[in-house]
Symmetry: C2
Subunit: 241 residues, 2 copies
C-alpha cells in the first residue's frame, strides 16, 4: 500500500487524488475543531474558502452558524472562531456550521475530487486507523492513502507532520512511503515522548500562545479521545457511517 504525505494543499494536489483515501490533517486547529464539533452534536460542517462565501451560504441554510478564523482570530460577525472550546454542545448541538479557516478548509476543498476525504487529528487518530483497515479491506480498488498536511501558508507544518508520522507509525500495513512520509515517521519517533513540548515550539503554536490559546494546543495534542471519523460527503463534513 502506497502512503504519501504532502506538505500543503496547493494546485499540485490534484494528480494524486485518484483512487485514494485522502486524509487531511490540521492539528492547530481546523481538523481538531471539526472532530470536536461533531463529537459535541454538530450535525454537519460545510467547508468554504472565504468569509464572503460563508455569509452567502448561510442565506440558504436557515439556523446555520458561521465559524472560522483569519490570522487565528474569530472572523468579525461570525458565531464561532477556530478554537475547539468554542464548539461546545450548547452552541453546536443539532446545528450545521459553515466554516472557513486559512489552511484547513482550503486543503479539504482542494482534496474534494478524491473518492474519500477524511479529517484527522491527534484526538481521533485511533478511529482513523481502524476505519482505514475496514475501508482498505472492503474497497480493493483503492490504490493508496494520501495525507495532506494543511500546513501554514504553503509551508511545512511540524504539528501536522508529527500527526501524519504517528498515523503511519501505528498503521500495521506493508507500506511503500514517499520522502515526507518517511520523514514524518522519523520525526514522530524522535518527538513522541515529548510531543506537547515539541509542538509548542512550532511556528504555529507560538503564534497561538501569543494570542493566549495555550489550552487549545494542549487539547489538540491529546490522543485518541474522540471515536469519530469526519468525512466529506456531498460538500458537507459528517460522521463516517
Amino acid at each position: 500500500m502506497l502512503i504519501e504525505v504532502l506538505p500543503s494543499a496547493n494546485l499540485s494536489v490534484l494528480p494524486y487524488l485518484q483512487n485514494k483515501i485522502v486524509i487531511v490533517i490540521d492539528v492547530l486547529r481546523a481538523t481538531s475543531t471539526m472532530v470536536t464539533a461533531l463529537a459535541n452534536g454538530c450535525q454537519a460542517i460545510i467547508p468554504v474558502l472565504t468569509p464572503e462565501e460563508a455569509i452567502e451560504k448561510r442565506l440558504m441554510i436557515p439556523g446555520a452558524l458561521l465559524g472560522g478564523e483569519r490570522k487565528a482570530i474569530k472572523i468579525e460577525g461570525f458565531d464561532l472562531g477556530n478554537s475547539p472550546f468554542d464548539y461546545v454542545p450548547e452552541k453546536v448541538g443539532g446545528k450545521r456550521i459553515i466554516m472557513t479557516t486559512t489552511n484547513g478548509t482550503r486543503a479539504i476543498r482542494a482534496a474534494a475530487e478524491a473518492p474519500h476525504v477524511w479529517m484527522a487529528s491527534f484526538l481521533n487518530l485511533q478511529s482513523i486507523i481502524l476505519s482505514l483497515y475496514r475501508h482498505l479491506e472492503s474497497n480493493r480498488n483503492l490504490e493508496g492513502i494520501l495525507i495532506i498536511c494543511a500546513g501554514t501558508e504553503d509551508r511545512f507544518d511540524l504539528p501536522d507532520t508529527l500527526c501524519a508520522g504517528m498515523l503511519i507509525d501505528q498503521l500495521r500495513l506493508d507500506l511503500e512511503v514517499n520522502d515526507l512520509a518517511k520523514a514524518a515517521m522519523m520525526l514522530y519517533s524522535l518527538a513522541k515522548d515529548d510531543l506537547v513540548n515539541v509542538i509548542r515550539s512550532s511556528d504555529h503554536a507560538r503564534r497561538l500562545m501569543e494570542l493566549e490559546f495555550d489550552r487549545d494546543i494542549i487539547y489538540c495534542c491529546t490522543q485518541n479521545i474522540l471515536p469519530i471519523v469526519p468525512v466529506l460527503k456531498e460538500g458537507e463534513i459528517v460522521w463516517l457511517t
Copy 2:
C-alpha cells in the same frame, strides 16, 4: 539570526527574500553538479528555465555548452546531462555552461531577487558555513538565512532537507528557526550516521538508481571535498570572491 527552510521554490518564495542570504540546495543533483563544474574549471553557469531558452541563449554566447536534464536524463542535443561526472575538466575547463534542470535551476531563478544567492550541497557545505560567518560579520543589515530545498516537483525532498539539517546543525550561531529548519535538524540527527543509505532510500535516489546513476548518489553524499561557494552574480553562477 533567523534561519528558515522552505520545502520547494514556488511563487510564495518572494516575500522571504529581502535582506536574506538565500542558499539553494539540490543534492540530487543540480547544485552538486554546479559545484563540481566550477571546481573543474568551468568559467560560469547560466541557469535557465527551459531547453528552448538554453538553445536561444547559446546563440549569444559562442563556445558555451548546454547542460541539463528532464526526468533525470540528458536533454536531446545537449552537450552535458545533470550528472556531476559529465562535468569533467577536459569538457568544462574554461567554458561557460547554459544549464536547465527540472527543480534546481528553477529554484535559483525564483530566488534571483535576493541580495545573495548561493548554491550548497554536501560537497561544499563547510565552505558555505565559513562564508556565512564572514558575510554575516561584514553585512550587518542581513536579517537572516533562507534555505530553499529545490525539491522534486514542489514536494518534500529528503536529501535536500538532510543537507539543510547538516548546515544548520554545524552553524555555530544563536538561531531562531522555522518548523522545517527544526525538522531538518531532527532528521539530520537521526540520519547522520547512515546518511548514504537514508538518502538512497529517498524517492529521487530510487529513480536515479533505476537509471543506473548509483555512483552519482554516492558522490553527491560526500561531505566537504570542494572548497567552493557558487554564487549568482548578474544572472551567472560563479565562484564567490
